[in-house]
């Protein structure tokens, strides 16, 4: 247990020591999205009856920020350690692959949550967001950031250089998060894109998250939880498998 908690502590310290970049910067980015999109669309778009566009937008922005930061945390920590070589200190220690995975995962989830709470608090000035199902929100947050944290571990293990990691981020993570209905309801999409969105797990994270705030969603919330939960089990299981074999860590 001490091994795990030390690695977790080290991972938390790593982003906390540079909180300006790792926490404040993403909050500012989310606020810029909010300012611009709500300014342009507030009067024109109403997705659900009785809910303003800004209120509609905020949960998606919070979730998107959490996801991107959970991914960025584990992936950049791992690739930095690999490139500088100091990953050996962890690899030489008697930590099990389970402890290794849990520490990186949890640290990234915590970073995601800290950013998410920051974005949420910052938006209080813009809109009055109800909190209908807080426990539900918490569960969905942990599972969703957990998925991206695990993807970050996979990407960090796989990439040998920073530009490979950037490719993973630009060609997989960014499209998945942007094409998930953060800024719109997928019902406003043409049928093809609507059907495609249903294959994107991030869509369920955001849709389910909205339901937790104001009780409206595109698909049934149970389905969202099911998809997100199943994705978490599958991806974290796959991550554990890779770690057990020491994929690209122990060659």
């Amino acid at each position: 247990m001490t091994g795990f908690s030390t690695l977790l502590y080290k991972e938390l310290l790593r982003f906390w020591k540079v909180a300006f970049q790792t926490i404040l910067a993403p909050i500012v980015t989310a606020m810029l999205y909010l300012l611009i999109f709500s300014h342009v669309l507030e009067e024109r778009v109403q997705v659900y009856p009785g809910i303003s566009y800004t209120t509609f937008l905020v949960p998606g922005l919070i979730m998107m920020s959490m996801l991107q930061n959970a991914f960025a945390n584990s992936s950049s920590s791992l690739i930095q350690s690999k490139i500088t070589g100091n990953i050996v200190f962890v690899l030489l220690a008697p930590l099990s692959y389970l402890e290794f995975c849990a520490a990186y995962l949890l640290a990234s989830v915590i970073r995601g949550v800290v950013v998410g709470v920051g974005v949420g608090l910052a938006t209080v000035w813009f809109t009055d967001l109800p909190l209908m199902h807080p426990v539900w929100l918490l569960a969905l947050t942990v599972l969703s950031t957990g998925i991206l944290a695990a993807l970050g571990i996979i990407a960090g293990m796989w990439a040998d250089k920073f530009d490979q990691l950037a490719a993973f981020q630009n060609f997989l993570i960014m499209p998945l998060t942007f094409l998930s209905g953060v800024f719109y309801s997928i019902h406003s999409l043409p049928p093809f894109w609507q059907a495609l969105s249903h294959w994107n797990p991030v869509f369920y994270m955001i849709d389910g998250f909205r339901w937790g705030f104001f009780g409206h969603s595109d698909v049934a919330p149970g389905l969202s939880l099911l998809v997100v939960g199943a994705s978490f089990v599958a991806i974290s299981g796959f991550t554990l498998l890779l770690l057990r074999h020491g994929y690209k860590l122990r060659y």
């Binding site: 247990m1 001490t2 091994g3 908690s5 030390t6 690695l7 502590y9 080290k10 310290l13 790593r14 020591k17 500088t84 070589g85 100091n86 050996v88 200190f89 962890v90 690899l91 030489l92 220690a93 008697p94 930590l95 099990s96 020491g246 122990r250 060659y251």
Partner: protein, 296 residues
């Protein structure tokens, strides 16, 4: 008693290179063991497999009786490795690094031992500086300290003194020697052969992934048969005495047994030649190493 290290039929095949080609090796507890070989011989690969950083293609490796693959937790606890590369974590001070490393090994309260290690490696004045601010030599010391946080019974140092000042070498060897005297097994790879000669009781020589020699340091040194003396005279010795001309008006005399020196001196007296200087030249590990590596 189980051996400190036991390597059986070890093969490591990288995509192109066969880094280790069938190594069998046992290091007893408490030994000071040297692992020598030219660059690319496979020394680091062997150490990486001991540490679980690399996986064997064939064969098994045990540390203090624990299989490095199946019982990795115990085997890693038994092993302290100083890596060849000068790596460090730029987020921490030296002391924080040692606390974190202790934590990885499951130790919460380790400050007394950490202070002891810091002191013995001459790190105490630098303990609260960020790793980035330390010189290369100081970073190397922290690397040694990190390998020792959990008091491992087996300590492996992969070229710890490469490109390092004399001061650190002295400090390091003094400390490592004292740990060896307390019962820790020490395995060392180094490019400085005189270091291996003075420190190691037993030596393995690797070449292209194979063991080409494995013997006590004394036996290896005596492999170079015979001795040599270097002399200076006040005249020209007769050729019958079997002396060879050396550098700067010196003469060299090769012999197997020390009694042969008496014969030589008697012959010189008969010829009326006086000895001005005499020096015995003992073979060193460098000669043996070069010979073994070339002939292997």
């Amino acid at each position: 008693m189980t051996a400190a290290l036991k390597v059986t039929g070890l093969v490591k095949q990288y995509r192109q290179a066969r880094a280790l080609d069938g190594i069998d090796l046992e290091v007893s507890r408490g030994e000071f063991f040297g692992l020598l070989g030219p660059n690319g011989a496979g020394k680091t690969t062997l150490i990486n497999i001991l540490a679980g950083l690399a996986r064997p293609t064939q064969g098994t490796v045990e540390v203090m009786g624990f299989d490095v693959a199946r019982e990795y937790e115990q085997s890693r606890r038994a092993l302290g490795v100083v890596p060849q590369e000068l790596v460090y974590d730029p987020f921490f001070t030296a002391r924080e690094v040692l606390r974190v490393q202790s934590g990885y090994f499951g130790m919460r309260r380790n400050d007394d031992w950490i202070e002891h290690v810091l002191h013995n490696l001459g790190l105490t004045p630098h303990a609260d500086k960020n790793m980035r601010a330390l010189s290369g030599g100081m970073k190397r010391r922290v690397l040694v300290a990190q390998a020792l946080v959990h008091k491992p019974p087996v300590i492996v140092l992969d070229e710890p003194t490469a490109g390092v000042d004399v001061d650190l070498r002295q400090t390091l060897w003094q400390f490592i020697r004292s740990l060896n005297e307390e019962g820790h097994t020490v395995v060392l790879t180094t490019h400085y052969l005189e270091e291996a000669e003075t420190l190691c009781e037993r030596i393995a020589m690797l070449k292209q992934g194979r063991l080409v020699a494995l013997d006590s340091t004394r036996n290896l040194l005596s492999r170079r048969h015979g001795h040599q003396a270097q002399l200076k005279f006040d005249g020209e010795p007769p050729p019958s005495l079997g002396l060879k001309r050396g550098q700067s008006s010196c003469w060299l005399y090769g012999f197997q047994e020390y009694v042969q020196l008496e014969t030589l001196l008697a012959g010189l007296r008969t010829a009326g030649i006086r000895v001005l200087e005499m020096q015995l030249i003992e073979p060193d590990l460098e000669d043996v190493f070069t010979e073994i590596i070339q002939n292997a």
